[in-house]
Symmetry: C2
Subunit: 135 residues, 2 copies
Amino acid sequence: MRNDNPQITEASSTLSAQMRRGDLFAEKCPSRDVLKHVTSRWGVLILVALLGGTHRFSDLRRKTAGVSERMLAQTLKWLESDGFVARKAYPVVPPHVEYSLTPLGHQVALKVEALADWIEGNLPQIMAAQAPPEA
Amino acid sequence: MRNDNPQITEASSTLSAQMRRGDLFAEKCPSRDVLKHVTSRWGVLILVALLGGTHRFSDLRRKTAGVSERMLAQTLKWLESDGFVARKAYPVVPPHVEYSLTPLGHQVALKVEALADWIEGNLPQIMAAQAPPEA
């Protein structure tokens, strides 16, 4: 991937050789936090929703049935801090804030969607497997 | 099975569609529990580890650094009840229990692995994005 941002180069140079790639099986690897954010209950749904385009906070909340305002804000903050979601606030009354995927967020969202899509599509088989075997 | 249109989930609110396919955006859909199990902190690592072949409980515990015996047992039970993991106990002393992926589990594990692999491979870019911008 092309890197035009000198900050990225600088940050990357401070990473140890091991950090050229994360290792989810290593207890202290920061990749575990990223995994936690994108696979959190609401993280998955927010990423998939944003694949459909930019959303306002209230639109995301309506679409993601069951999420509280607090958890939606928390999850968006995680995804924003990982560089997956961009937040844009317009100086209008009433406040207007929009969320969208960054290019990096678009990539991870496609992986998350593939998993979510598999689960949705295979739910009948999974529920059949869940049924207790007859005596 | 791939859903290229995120809006299609809205169509799943009809009864007939729900019977054929899960809908993660619906609050009561059982697909949300399945998602929770496979994307739980240890679920991801266990599925990826089992892609490498059958494991004994102690092998899984060693490989999945940081997991407690209790959480490993709980996660394996979830994955077993979803039909993703098969448990085989051998009647020997000391007890010998092996875990492996079912064909359904192999499929979902490949999706989970694709996500895990993306995160590991892109960790440097993610950490660079996490770095606060200079003033």
